[in-house]
Symmetry: C2
Subunit: 387 residues, 2 copies
DNA sequence: TTCATTTAGTTCACGTTGTAGACTAAATAT
DNA sequence: ATATTTAGTCTACAACGTGAACTAAATGAA
């Protein structure tokens, strides 16, 4: 339902429009902004003035155009005030990253450790220490951290991790256990990684990000927005049915994608004790390892066929461990997609490996907070009001 | 991207807010509207005044509350001015319906005829005659028809029917071939039927409408909005993979849902020449017919499992021929859903037969136009400006 | 019956915000 | 130098929502 619009909301929306135009359109003069937004020069001048005063935009000096007329002054997003913290708990590391408004990484920290089967309280305690460190560093840089988001692989909702197959967690109130001086939100790793690709990788307006970990999740971006379903649990690609009477799955069903292309199945089929071992085997051209990838790839192709038919995707990005396995997976996946989707759609969707790799989740997490600021900069304009 | 907001847009949005509140909240006084919208009494008074003048709202006389204080005057949507035309081409009939703003059917016409393999030009010519008739009747009733929408089963985009398995059509520019004195838009039958259920049936904010015809389509409603994918082709449930090495499908793949639960497969398995024959056989408890439904139901359950995992649906509505087959389908479908989704999600989504049956598509088609008027009533306020 | 009380709706002075066009500033071209 | 062109600011103005005072119409108590 649409909300009532008052003068205040009108202003807030127009600030968003200006900020958004600068964010997408690179350096832009006030005159150019007036043209792209449809607002008048005077209005743009006022809005830009306030945003500059607030430290959200910065002037970059006169634009030397070499053309006739007074050169305009270009403005860009300013990285000097607002920033956001992205956090990730993965099987074998903890990571924290602070991004500024421009998307630049201003500080970061990473702790390698095996989180498999660790107690949630312990892991979150360690993450809290890591985050606190990074926040202190951001403070020294003069940054105001607007919030944090935490990526955990597996279904998540309302601050609770329902199940994290990577970590062996079940119903963990992660958001409550992590005490930080900024608001923390919890999100699915696949969703946040998808947003990371959208904003800082080679995301387009519509694509599916597939996160291959112990479980297989997916983040769906449509029209530049994350699709998260009725209760926020969309994207369980791992339990899309590949073969109705296939191997039993931990979900209670049979023949889910996870039983073919989940990390455990993949390592077992590849006769490898670990992912590095599998990669090494693939590197030396080991037949068993290659066959394992090929059949996982075909299963992934089947599941993605269903996804494309339902969701009308035009690009698929493979992330998580699939990024490293991409050279051995992409052939079989494409083959299935081309055969099964060529008839009705003409061409199957484009496919690529994640460009950000393991960084996608923290970037997306921080980006989520950054984009909320860009979408509603009004609360940060208090400075201007004082003047 | 958000658009700039000027005074004009502010007003347009607030008109929408008021109209929307009345549309959802039944009869409402100005005072109540001020409360639910958050606007002040004076603003609401002005907006309601203009909407009443324009013939979009109507006062229903004093609300006898029996309580203290002056009784308010309730307003409701007015069916006396704006209306919309919904059209449908089905295998064995053509239908047209005019709805007013309140959702009441003001006039309708239907022509039984077998459209299987008919030439598009002929069918659309006949539909044009039917529509023209109904439009004339609407005109006599004093209604201003704001637009029309046409439902055709199968993938559709940009005014073109890419393929209609029901009719045997391929790449038909239906919107161009239908000449009417109002703007006509073309849409997928499953999508429009889903909207019909949403607005005039027992739709909720989130559900999947499954349309079982010769092909099997689906319309996905999330957060009260139709989801149509990157290029508007979402919802091809019929080609979700049930068994990777199953029977060959016309799409080039194997084991698609359509090869198990499409009308042709269903009739062949049920050993019936037509749908009425199958229903008759089911009615007398014919074993072959029942088994055919059961196995189609299980296949449908598999495909829906994949859909629920990807889309996080909380309700599924079965439409098209599945509405009539519901008593024999629902058991097997639920069984599969419960087994495969019970583990992770707790409960499978609710399921029901379409309440509107064959009327869903025309209602949704007209409703689509109606809801566009409700979302932007400003263009209809010219009357008020004159005063 | 009368009058206080309560709630609905209208009116109007006012504040906030965007607009239009005049005006100033700073460059290039002649 | 001076005209021309484009950028940005300034100011009177208009559109719209706000808030408080005001009128309208009911109930309930004296």
């Amino acid at each position: 339902m649409t909300q009532a619009v008052r003068h205040e909301e009108m202003r807030a929306r127009n600030l968003e429009v200006v900020l958004g135009a600068v964010s997408r359109g690179g350096p832009l003069t006030r005159a150019a902004l007036a043209e792209v937004t449809g607002l008048t020069k005077s209005t743009v001048s006022k809005l830009v003035g306030d945003l500059v005063d607030a430290g959200l935009l910065a002037e970059t000096g006169p634009a030397r155009a070499g053309e006739r007329g007074r050169p305009g002054v270009e403005v860009v997003l300013s990285g000097e005030r607002v920033a956001a913290l992205g956090l990730e708990i993965n099987v074998d590391y903890l990571a924290a990253r602070v991004l500024d408004l421009t998307g630049a990484v201003r500080c970061a920290a990473r702790r390698e450790r095996d989180n498999r089967g660790s107690r949630p309280k312990k892991v979150l305690g360690e993450l809290q220490a890591l985050a606190t460190e990074v926040l202190a560093e951001a403070h020294r840089l003069g940054l105001e951290v607007a919030g944090a988001a935490l990526a955990v692989s597996g279904p998540v909702g309302d601050g609770v991790v329902f199940s994290a197959p990577n970590l062996g967690w079940q119903d963990v109130r992660a958001a409550d256990l992590l005490r930080l001086p900024v608001p923390v939100e919890l999100d699915n790793e696949a969703n946040l990684a998808a947003l990371g690709e959208l904003w800082y990788g080679d995301g387009e307006r519509d694509f599916l990000y597939v996160s291959g970990e112990v479980g297989i999740g997916a983040g769906l971006v449509v029209n530049g927005t994350l699709y998260s379903g009725a209760t926020g649990l969309a994207g369980e690609l791992g339990h899309v049915v590949v073969t109705p009477d296939g191997p039993a799955c931990r979900c209670g069903g049979n023949g889910c994608l996870e039983t073919y292309a989940g990390q455990e199945a993949l390592l077992a089929a590849g006769n490898s004790p670990s992912l590095p071992a599998l990669l090494a085997a693939l590197g030396r051209g080991d037949r068993v390892a290659r066959d394992a990838c090929a059949s996982a790839g075909r299963a992934l192709g089947i599941a993605l066929t269903s996804a494309v038919n339902l969701l009308d995707l035009d690009r698929i990005v493979l992330g998580g461990v699939f990024t490293q396995l991409y050279p051995w997976l992409s052939g079989p996946v494409s083959e299935v997609l081309t055969t099964r989707l060529g008839g009705l759609r003409g061409a199957p969707p484009a496919m690529s490996a994640s460009r950000l790799g393991g960084d996608a989740a923290t970037l997306g997490a921080a980006g989520r907070v950054i984009h909320r600021v860009l979408a509603d900069p009004a609360p940060f304009l208090t400075r201007a009001q004082e003047a």
